[in-house]
Amino acid sequence: MRNFAQSRLGTLSGFAAGAAVLFGLAPLVLSGFRLGLFAQFICYAIVAVGIGLAWGRGGMLTLGQGVFFGMGAYLMAMHLKMADAEFRSGPGAVPDFMELAGIRELPAYWVPFASPAFTIAAVLLLPTGLAAALGLAVFKRRVKGAYFAILSQALAGAFAILLIGQQTLGGFNGLSYFRYFFGFTLNDPVNQRMLYFITAAVLLAVVALALQLRRSRYGELLVAVRDAEARVRFLGYDAANVKVVAYAVAALFASVAGALFVPVVGIISPASIGIIPSIMFLLGVAIGGRATLLGPVVGALAVAWAQTTLSEQFPSAWTYAQGLLFVLVIALLPGGIASIPKLAGRVRAKNQARTLEATA
């Protein structure tokens, strides 16, 4: 029974329980607004699964997932703006925010985003490709640890500043005011609920993919690289390639999450993808337990939920409460929320031993 969680039956029943909560319980108990908010949190959880893989299993402290999240989000937002403009004033029309900024002609790089297929392909391939190229450049040179963390964070900062300067991408305001999502009106509650289901299904798929990677030979290699990179190299493996794959998959997850975030939340701006949001992504993973499969998901959902609830309860003091919560979790539960069952088990075992001693 100890290995139930690792057995096939255990996995399937775990997913069934997850699906029951996401598809059955949540829509039943949450109001339309709360369900939309939950969909937003799930987007963060999807990013977290990727970070769990790259950081928890691969040891790469990715402080800049906002870059890939932002790319996915902006790519999707560009398509939605194009679709809105086309619906309003025919093909080739200039999106409303550009008209306000005095841009009368559609920039060439916007044109392909009129196509939904191109947009989806771009969301899946562009950030993943960028991460792979970046990973190759960085990991082949054996840049790691704090140096990699600083590099990835600098990237997030630079990306946000770059976007602020792009008037054709909405600058500081970012892109907002989306009306349609692949032909469906976004302000219809039925469609909002559907969007939630799609987001939830993507989360399940992403977790399944991460699980598959963890259980494969590749997953063991990744942990081996994390724990003893030199030894793996001496065994004849290219450690850099192993890391690149995990980094690229994490980027893919972040990009997909960003693409879903845009229709769910209705706005993307440089404020949502810079250094601070990137750290917030990481924080959820740290609090949940980075090395476990579900820890990052639980952590991301818990942090986002706590943030919203605390700020609703104490609008002017919630940041203190949040800070306190982080300090407590890091100090008392270094393994994150996911380590609670293990800790409880250890306490129980100790108690049992004590009772045995007493009765002996």
Partner: protein
Amino acid sequence: MPHRSTPRAGRTARALAAAAAVAVAAATAACGSRAGDEATAAESCLDTSGDTVKVGALNSLSGTMAISETTVRDAIYLAVDQINADGGVLDKQIEIVAEDGASEPTVFAEKSEKLIREDCVAAVFGGWTSASRKAMLPVFEDNDSLLYYPVQYEGLEASENIFYSGATTNQQIVPALDYLAEAGVESMYLVGSDYVFPRTANAVINAYAEAHGIEILGEDYVPLGSTEFSTIVQQVDSAGADAVFNTLNGDSNVAFFREYTNVGLTAEDMPVMSVSIAEEEIGGIGIENIEGQLAAWNYYQTIESDTNAAFVEAFKGEYGDDRVTSDPMEASYNSVHLWAATVEKAGSFEVDDVQEAAGGVSFDGPEGTVVIDGDNNHLSKTARIGIIESDGLLHTIWESDGPIEPDPFLEGYDWAADLSVGE
């Protein structure tokens, strides 16, 4: 730790992926309205059966904008307290639901939706940056609710669901340019933060300058929050313009004016006209760096009138003698009173009734009488140029002949024909 063999794990994952695909397909099969269908506005859950009515106060209480936006919140509370003390609105006491916008557009969108759909508020007061307003606009339109936005902004917007109680361009920037042109300014240098307000403001300034024979010698932007100004101030200095038009926001102003004073530039050789520096900011910049410089707003603490004296006294009485009152605070104070007056006129809290009744509603505010323009939901306001004196306050040195009608799309100005787009 025992590990499962790879093929089995692979099969599990494939089964799960297939299940997920089926779930997505099933989910998308039953869908709501498509593009082109009649839009259905959400029903409001506003409940007016009790003795109280809820309104939302949505300001950034954390993050970079907190320092500015908490002052607006204080003014909103003051106005609500006054109205409640006078018997409330339609005999109901106003109850504030406060939320923190956290200086982030996505949070503004989330919290405004929460206020409308969960708290069922009659109206929301707040927002500061244009980014926050742009994030909230679709939420208020989709849920057919009301936002009262209290800060001067770049214009080119008029939503039925937003009441703009700050100045639009023709009530702040255009009068400031008129003032400079009258003072004989023939060349200007533009310095601004890199976001939508400075960029739009400078587009207006460029169009104005071209039509009025003013030469623009340079136009520079720095990222929000940047404090590195040695290069820009050098350029301003060597360009030798007659005046500088400053659309910097926040902390950048501190660094800019310090550098400006350091290189020996003064208000006499090259005056700086600022549009985002109010009483609150002067203390941070330091009076020695900014004395004699100009600002353009609609309200100053030093305005001499009985209503303003009462407002300043009430504010200091509530929050302390060391506090100052500024234009955005006054505009948010006015907006609460305007909402209450509109509700009284309509005899109803319903959004449709309030929108219907809004045109022509007026309030004798600290800046003078303001009137809602029913066509664009902006206010008619008196423009004022102020000079910063050694007491750290702004003093009016010029004001428009009475209130200026709001013209957010600058339709009444020939030189601005290329700026505004048909709306």
